[in-house]
């Protein structure tokens, strides 16, 4: 087991490295970025202005060195061994690339770089004194480009994380509490009226677009109910900014537990409906499969009461594949729900990721991608370990 874990952790490190490298390369090679934004709003830029902005965002360094500084905070300058300086003139980037405009075979005119202008190379010695993060492997995600310009990424991520965890943990917990019994009962009462109703609701929940359902809830339970003078729900945010009055409930003070609870109802309902729809179907299918097994028939033949057969013999086995679903909700819990958070203006990680991509804040986007990648590989490992706990037949070696 120990060997297995060591091997898996080593594999995880490799997967994370490639995952981070691929994500970093994709984001940085994609069109756009801070320079495009700035040149579009500033029309009077000269070459020096552009070079300065490129250097500010480290875009003057070649991708591998940029990645290396983001990952491990290196290189920071020439290599110094025993007082001797090595590779001081080693080229790691270019302040002013040569740009040519070319017509591609499709007839489109594109601007491409073709080397570096004379005397404009960036060498290792030019990196001395430049600001740089310590590297993500040391817990430093660097500074934000846009969302909180020049302030640490960790500040904005940590400010959003509790909100997302609050929303996701509650909705996932409720989904499990509702989804499992529904699935089990549907399987036991297959083709009954109850099963048909649950199946229909499941299809409704799975097929209803989240954003539409969310908007519908806001329209009905916030705007319409309020206009009729009925008990209504706040349309969005995690808590109110000012106090308010709800008919029959009375004055609600902003920031209190009641205020937070009222704000949670709609986003949790949307997420729960979506999760329950899928998970109850999954459990139902898994239960039906198990109920047909010989050992269940044997248990019944032994004269065990049906409740014991279901709870002890069938459900425990039916839940094994469900572990995969549950553990993979861990990265989801941290990553947030982009659409639901955006529609309900929930200040969580999902909305932050959406913002980061929209505003080309790659350090923030990379931090979120990396956190998700780390949690995903951990979840995978956790699932494998949990299999051995719930199923004695599985041995890890």
């Amino acid at each position: 087991m120990v060997n297995y874990l060591i091997r898996r952790i080593f594999q995880m490190a490799i997967v994370l490295f490639f995952s981070a490298a691929a994500s970093y390369a994709l984001l940085n090679l994609a069109p756009g970025g801070p320079l495009t934004f700035l040149t579009s709003v500033q029309r009077r830029l000269n070459q020096e202005d552009i070079a300065r902005v490129r250097a500010y965002f480290e875009l003057d360094l070649y991708l591998p060195f940029r990645f290396s500084r983001w990952l491990a905070g290196q290189p920071q300058g020439p290599i110094i061994v025993g007082g001797q300086t090595y590779l001081a003139d080693f080229v790691v980037g270019c302040r002013r690339p040569i740009e040519v405009q070319v017509r591609s075979s499709s007839g489109k005119i594109e601007t491409r770089t073709a080397g570096c202008q004379a005397g404009q190379n960036v060498t290792l010695k030019d990196l001395v004194g430049r600001r740089s993060s310590k590297g993500v492997i040391f817990g430093d995600f660097g500074n934000s480009w846009q969302i909180t310009r020049d302030r640490p990424v960790s500040i904005v991520v940590l400010s959003r994380l509790p909100r997302t965890l609050e929303l996701m943990v509650i909705s996932i917990s409720i989904s499990i509490l509702i989804g499992i019994p529904l699935g089990v009962y549907s399987a036991i009462r297959q083709y009954s009226s109850f099963d048909y109703v649950v199946t229909s609701l499941s299809f409704f929940g799975s097929s209803m677009p989240t954003f539409f359902f969310a908007l519908l809830m806001i329209l009905v339970f916030a705007i319409t109910f309020k206009s009729f003078g009925w008990v209504y729900l706040p349309p969005g945010n995690a808590e109110s900014i000012k106090d308010y009055v709800i008919p029959f409930i009375g004055a609600v003070e902003a920031g209190t537990l009641l205020d937070k609870f009222l704000h949670l109802i709609m986003p949790v309902t949307v997420l729960t409906l979506f999760n329950v729809a899928g998970w109850s179907r999954y459990i139902r299918g898994s239960m039906l499969e198990v109920l047909r097994q010989d050992y269940v028939r044997t248990a019944r033949a032994k004269g065990l009461i049906e409740r014991v057969v279901i709870a002890k013999h069938a459900l425990r086995n039916a839940l094994i594949p469900f572990i995969t679903l549950v553990v993979f909700s861990i990265p989801a819990a941290f990553g947030g729900a982009i659409i639901t958070e955006t529609v309900f203006n929930w200040p969580g990680m999902g909305r932050l990721y959406f913002d980061a991509l929209g505003r080309t804040d790659y350090p923030v986007a990379m931090a979120l991608l990396l956190i998700t990648a780390v949690l995903t590989v951990i979840a995978t490992l956790l699932a494998d370990v949990l299999y051995t706990v719930v199923d004695p037949r599985i041995r890890l070696s």
Binding site: L45, I109, A114, P234, N237, I241
Partner: protein, 652 residues
């Protein structure tokens, strides 16, 4: 052994990855692996050095021949007369009351409320008159035949159909009014072939509009308090293959009177002279009808009925008069919704609208631009007319620092310009010349900017001369994080005269129309940071990452920013030391609400009290707030953005 094998495999993986990543680095500039280099698309001042081993010139269209249909003034005027702009406005703003739809109507290139607008008797009016339009087409030789039914496409004596290509974007808004325009033209016997192109092509750097690839083309300009216009209408601003498609006079319109007038209007410093020149321009512009102004877009702003003195303007941020706001119901907290969150409160690195709203609360305003004009908030505008500025003749010789004829202080490489042979400059009499040597006389601006007495930081300390000096030192430092230093580079010297006044001597040749706006603000030089340092002693490069600058800056405006919860809200309290006296609303909170529908829902349920046009927009949500005027005040403002149809006078 087995673990060792895995370790070796992992090492191999890492090595391969390193090689792959290293391969991403550009190769040495030995040769450009392309065969075609297109010498087109000269963008602004960014010179593109081209190094290549092989050049194949691409034959680009020169657009030198007159358009067979649109070069005829009668046809262009006929199009204008046949256009029922009220109907076009109605098609996209069905939710707007008729009287407010009329406010969107545009008759020249300058909005009606602007100080530079002119529609006197000398201008040509194009009120909808289809009969007049059809008569003009008849006169121009385009006939539908005596007994032809209405809507028959006209043709000329050669049998050519009166047919024009109409290009615009795929935006639903434009498609809607364009469809009405097409039917209006058909009613006059003019066939319009509508082409709805992707914005990436229509506004591409080397396609569509930039290369004048259209006959009739619809898009929008954004008007400003200073109307400018030189780059849009002057004769030397016609994009052609020969000039690398520089300029934005996409119509190819060259009317010497209009061109001289727009150049003069853009380069004079005296308001009266500018008004006179804009008048001449608008007379010519309407007469030649090369670009048909269609309408200004509508912007919606909404607030709770309790808010007093809420007065949004198309050319100013809605918080411009927050110090005059008041809540009728006596509440002491106001919540405004804002779709975009600012990146920083440090104005040097963040100047978006989302930052201007809170910045106006914290820093106040030195000059506002309400309703297309300038108002000094703290002292008089530093204009030539007020005596605060003088535009002197100075003699300059080779090697002296100057600004070139386009108003640029540096060359394309970013080096500061000095007077050298070949440099294009403007002489004191306004002529553009190429400097050949010797002494020349140029204009030099000297402006004294005076600030209001009594300016006080929100910690109670008065604003002093050292604060202005710190701002000049910091903002013009190349490590400040700013993108554009052209204003700093245009300054020859600054003399700080007192705690409320400084005098800027600009380099000879600097003649910017907005010279009266203060180029230097102030920072609290006395402020002690959390790490014990005084702001005055902190290196400029660090400023952008300082919490005291980026998140909770000290200001002299009506409010103090006390808390900024990222992604959620910014909280402000009244500044007790505000020089105009303490404000009536004690607390303002900006709530960040990204989605417009969510923002409207919060407005209707009372979670937020104010939504300005940048959050409310001009879509169906405006209809929603208009339907709730029993609980909301709604201000529909004609936007600075205006739609128009350009007519290309040339063909390749």
């Amino acid at each position: 052994m087995r673990n060792h094998k895995h370790a070796m495999m992992a090492l191999a993986f890492v090595t391969i990855a390193s090689i792959l990543l290293a391969a991403c680095a550009p190769a040495a500039p030995v040769e450009v692996p392309v065969t075609v280099v297109v010498k087109e698309t000269q963008q602004v001042n960014v010179e593109v050095p081209v190094v290549q081993t092989q050049i194949v010139e691409v034959q680009a269209p020169s657009y030198s021949k007159p358009h067979p249909i649109l070069s005829d003034l009668k046809v262009r005027q006929a199009i204008a007369f046949c256009t029922n702009r009220a109907e076009l406005i109605q098609s996209v703003y069905t939710w707007l009351p008729a009287d407010q739809q009329a406010n969107l109507f545009m008759d020249t290139n300058i909005p009606g409320v602007s100080w530079a607008h002119y529609t006197g008797p000398e201008t040509t009016k194009y009120d909808f008159d289809a009969a007049k339009g059809m008569a003009l087409l008849e006169e121009a030789g385009w006939s539908a035949g005596a007994d032809a039914p209405a809507g028959t496409i006209r043709s000329n004596a050669n049998g050519d159909r009166l047919s024009l290509k109409f290009t615009t974007t795929t935006a639903a808004f434009r498609k809607t009014w364009s469809a009405v325009f097409v039917s209006q033209m058909k009613a006059c016997g003019l066939e319009i072939l509508a082409l709805y192109a992707p914005a990436s092509w229509w506004f591409g750097s080397s396609t569509g509009l930039r290369h004048r690839d259209f006959e009739l083309g619809a898009y929008a300009w954004v008007g400003e308090t200073d109307p400018k216009g030189q780059t849009l209408y002057a004769c030397n601003q016609i994009p052609t293959a020969e000039n690398g498609w520089a300029g934005q006079n996409y119509m190819g319109w060259c009317n010497k009177t209009a061109s001289d007038a727009i150049n003069a209007a853009n380069n004079s410093l005296v308001r009266a002279d500018r008004v006179a020149q804009y008048k001449i321009f608008q007379i010519e512009f309407t007469k030649d009808m090369v670009s048909l102004p269609v309408f200004q877009r509508a912007e919606g702003n909404a607030a709770t009925l309790d808010l007093i003195n809420f007065r949004p303007s198309a050319t100013e941020y809605f918080t411009w008069n927050a110090d005059q706001w008041e809540l009728a119901d006596g509440r002491d907290t106001l919540v405004t919704g804002q779709s975009q969150e600012p990146a920083s409160m440090y104005t040097v690195v963040e100047s978006s609208a989302s930052q201007r709203f809170p910045a106006q609360l914290v820093f106040g305003t030195s000059t506002t631009q309400v309703d297309y004009d300038f108002q000094a908030s703290q002292a008089n505008l530093a204009t030539v007319e007020s005596g605060a500025a003088s535009n002197n003749d100075v003699e300059v010789k080779e090697g002296d620092p100057v600004v070139d004829s386009s108003g640029t202080p540096t060359d394309a490489d970013g080096n500061l310009l000095t007077l050298t042979a070949g440099l294009k400059i403007k002489t004191a009499d306004g002529q553009e010349v190429e400097y050949a040597g010797g002494a020349v006389t140029m204009k030099q601006l000297v402006v004294s900017y005076t600030w209001q007495d009594g300016l006080t930081w929100s910690d109670g300390e008065p604003v002093v001369q050292a604060d202005f000096e710190l701002a000049y030192k910091n903002d013009c430092d190349p490590t400040s994080g700013a993108v554009d230093y052209s204003l700093c580079q245009s300054i020859q010297s600054v003399e700080f005269n007192s705690d409320t006044e400084y005098t800027v001597t600009y380099k000879p040749g600097y003649q910017a129309a907005l010279y009266f706006l203060p180029p230097i603000g102030y920072y609290p030089s006395h402020q002690v940071l959390s790490d014990g340092r005084k702001l005055n002693d902190v290196p400029t490069a660090e400023w952008a990452s300082l919490k005291e600058i980026a998140e909770t800056p000290l200001g002299a405006g009506p409010y103090i920013l006390t808390n900024w919860e990222k992604g959620v809200k910014m909280e402000f309290v009244a500044n007790p030391f505000y020089y105009k006296g303490e404000v009536k609303i004690k607390n303002i909170t900006i709530s960040f609400v990204q989605d417009t529908q969510q923002a409207v829902a919060q407005l209707l349920t009372g979670e937020v009290d104010v939504l300005d046009s940048s959050t409310l927009g001009a879509g169906d949500e405006v209809q929603t707030v208009l339907d709730n005027q029993d609980i909301l005040q709604v201000h529909i403002v004609p936007s600075a953005t205006w739609e128009h149809i350009d007519m290309n006078l040339n063909v390749p």
